[in-house]
Amino acid sequence: MSKKKLQPKQYLTGAALSTPKPCTWCPGCGDFGIWSAFRAACMQEKWDNKNTALVAGIGCHGHIINFVKITAFEGLHGRALPVASGLKMANHDLNVFVFTGDGDSLSEGGNHFIHAARRNQNLTVILHDNALYALTTGQASPRTPKGQVTKSTPGGNIDDPLHPLRLALSAGATFLAREYSGNVESLKEIIIEANKHEGFSVIQVMQPCVSFNKVYTHRFFQENIYKLPEDYDPTDTFSAYQKTFEWDYKKIPVGILYQEKRKSYEAQLPVISKKTLVKQPVKKKTITSLYKKFI
């Protein structure tokens, strides 16, 4: 897309992606790692205002739209996915990234998460998973482990946590990955791979909340994650499903867990098989041929 115009030196610098807005995340927040990885991916892949759009939900993650100079839509809590789905159907030439949180996509927006996965919409979902509600100062989320004490669970959480990758897999997502926000280089590569994948891609990013989560800390992930081995076959649905059950001491797999080749939703829409919807001019239409049914 408009590659010939690009001058890497003047264009793809960090400065071109920077906005005048100061970063508002807490010092040490896992979101900085996601931000760095995404900016690095933008620079490497030449994602800019000609070819990319971002959609975010509400939560600490959503602030990212103020810190990356790419056209964005920050919608309502839980509703990033339907906005992104509409955007992608209307202009499938765009790389569309959805920034969401565990509360945003699994609690308030759980229904949309399931159905966007089922439809295999060609979107890349970056799920900032800090396992609680941070922006509202530390209540339990669908990712909070059983027994954890939070502001909303003073006696310990009695709900079992939800596993987003297992949920996405059973709902029909075709690309599943997990990474820890501190592994910036690897996360960048996964974001690029997820965007290349045609279909619904979910990246669960383990993103420690330094202010409110004293269980899932940077150290916890640094000590307990392991990279999927080279011989791991992400096309095998069954082993991917098994991997989603691994969440133990020193046994949290990171990397690409699953990848399936299946037509995306957008690729099955005849109306946009030749041209994006937005490139088809808006015209007044003659409807006389439709009258037959009404005579």
Binding site: A53, L94, V278, K285, L290, F294
Partner: protein, 570 residues
């Protein structure tokens, strides 16, 4: 003159509605005007369905309470409706079904026709009872059996040839039976008129779908819900031909958010629902408001609250749509009164949404959404697509929410090189989240200014029907229009103000009209007189009397005539 009213009733699942529609179409093809109205429970099978078709030589705008010709396919229909048949009218019943006709007015003709038996005798089946009834009805009314056979062929075009052959055999057998047995009582009311205008028989749902297509709509996300599902039924089959996407989303929350996403990308977007679905949409309603994203919302009202009366009509969502969502944002709300207005206001809504970059809501109801009316094909030569202040190329120093005198800012889309943020948080001119006092006031004022601009440049005055001097002035809105106009034909010195713009509101124009009015009667279909409250809020005016109806049935011309009479007598 009151129209000729045919009413056909029977068990749900036996094609009562499609039989009624066939009568309407044959009448329309024969040169008459029709308005049909159906009553049915929220069931697919087993309940009692009834449809009336009002037929007249001139345009007919509403259903009536009387029946000229009752077609009863079950005993229930006789029980519930035989008393409505006026003297000189007719009742046709299925004599093969052990039915009995009692207590009918003097001079009512009785036609016993063994519908059940005819349907099965000539190679047909029970499901063809409605076809047999149609053959009998046309035989009595002098309608064209050839037209009916043609329509049967069209209806079953996609099915095996034997289906239409068997139906035609059934229709002809019933036609013949009546000609032989009841030759002395026939009333050839439907014989072809010499002058025939080309007409279409459509509902407001269909008019809205057609209007959307004509206006270049490109994306529609509609979750099924009575009474607006027929909009999606009309849109879904024609996507490729007319170049738009129809998507059935997982819920109404998703529907409006998807439409907003598509509109953000730059395409004309539509959603349609009823009050319950709009409850789920209220969240995204305000999102479209603060993000200044154009979108057209169709809200087809039905009996409420909650599940309420799912298949019946009401005008109970006016104040809800006016005030839904937290806080203030500009919204344009229009309420068309009939099929014709539904078509044109839908087209207009797309232009208004893009010009003012805000949600435009069309408030209709089950009554017009599901009642067919025969109208001349829609004429929209004068319409042109206006997309407003739309920036499609890269612009230096581009500001999505630039503060302007009109309140309207330049709208750009992703992919053209302009950086901007479309933000549900309060934002600055670029769209970055910004919470300062100055910015908040500036952006809020800018958004709300769009309504003032709209009031000046686009808002339409209410229309006054009838003489400017009248003893009684009826004020109403939306779908009551038809019944009131029908009633006006039978009342002297009564005029009617029909308001179609709910927000912005034509305060000044209404003040001028109402200050000259002698006695004002408010007519609407809800419990609390919601339009009356709006009128009071905007003009300070209180109507002298009200006629409110909230039993799920539309207001009938007879009820208005009666009310006028009692006002004149008092």
């Amino acid at each position: 003159m009151k129209p000729f009213v045919l009413k056909i009733g029977g068990e749900a699942g036996y094609g009562i509605m499609s039989a009624g529609l066939v009568v309407a179409k044959i009448a329309s093809r024969s040169g008459y005007y029709t308005f049909d109205y159906s009553e049915y429970p929220s069931l697919v099978r087993g309940g009692h369905n009834v449809m009336q078709v009002a037929i007249s030589e001139g345009p007919v705008l509403a259903p009536y309470m009387h029946t000229d010709f009752l077609v009863a396919l079950n005993q229930d229909t006789l029980h519930q409706h035989q008393h409505e048949v006026i003297g000189g009218g007719s009742i046709l019943f299925d004599s093969a079904m052990n039915m009995s006709v009692k207590n009918v007015a003097k001079g009512v003709h009785i036609f016993d026709v063994p519908i059940h038996e005819i349907a099965t005798r000539v190679g047909g089946s029970l499901i063809m009872k409605n076809t047999a009834a149609l053959g009998a009805v046309l035989s009595i009314l002098g309608g064209s059996i050839d037209d009916l056979c043609k329509m049967i062929k069209e209806e079953f075009r996609d099915k095996h040839e034997s289906v239409s052959k068997r139906n035609i055999a059934v229709a002809r057998a019933a036609y013949q039976y009546v000609q032989e047995r009841h030759f002395d009582k026939l009333d050839p009311f439907l014989k072809q008129k010499r002058v025939r205008k080309e007409k279409i028989v459509v509902t407001a749902n269909e008019a809205i779908a057609l209007g959307s297509i004509a206006a270049g709509m490109q994306f529609a996300a509609i979750y099924p819900m009575t009474p607006t599902s027929a909009i999606l039924h009309t849109l879904a089959p024609h996507q490729e031909k007319f170049g738009y996407i129809y998507k059935q989303p997982e819920d109404e929350i998703s529907a409006l958010n998807m439409a907003i996403g598509a509109s953000f990308a730059g395409v004309r977007s539509l959603v349609a629902t009823s009050g319950g679905g709009f409850c789920l949409m209220t969240e995204a309603y305000g999102l479209a408001g603060i993000t200044e994203t154009p979108v057209v919302i169709i809200e087809g009202m039905r009996g409420a609250p909650a599940t309420g009366l799912p298949t019946w009509t009401e005008q109970g969502d006016l104040l809800f749509t006016l005030y839904a969502h937290q806080g203030d944002f500009p919204r344009i709300i229009l309420a068309p009164g009939d099929v014709e207005e539904s078509f044109h206001m839908t087209m207009q809504a797309f232009n208004l949404a893009e010009k003012y970059q805000t949600p435009v809501l069309l408030l209709v109801d089950k009554h017009i959404c599901e009642s067919h009316m025969s109208v001349e094909p829609f004429e929209y030569k004068k319409y042109s697509i206006e997309r407003g202040n739309f920036v499609k190329t890269k612009r230096v120093n581009y500001k999505r929410y630039a503060v302007t005198a009109s309140g309207i800012s330049p709208r750009s889309i992703p992919g053209v090189g302009n950086h901007f943020v479309v933000n549900s948080d309060e934002h600055d001119e670029v769209g970055y989240s910004e919470e300062s006092s100055e910015n908040r006031i500036e952006q809020m004022n800018k958004r709300m200014r769009k309504l003032l601009t709209c009031e000046k440049e686009d808002m339409e005055k209410p229309r006054v029907y009838g003489s400017t001097k009248a003893d009684i002035t009826i004020i109403s809105w939306g779908s009551n229009k038809g019944a009131i106009l029908e009633a006006l034909q039978h009342c002297k010195n009564v005029n009617f103000v029909h308001v179609t713009w709910m927000n912005p509101f034509p305060t000044r124009a209404l003040n001028n009209i109402l200050k000259k009015a002698k006695k004002v009667l408010l007519v609407e279909c809800n419990y609390s007189g919601q339009f009356g409250k709006l009128l009071k809020e905007k003009t300070g005016f209180t109507p002298h009397d009200t006629l409110l109806k909230y039993d799920g049935r539309p207001i009938f011309p007879e009820e208005i005539i009666q009310k006028i009479q009692s006002l004149l007598d008092s």
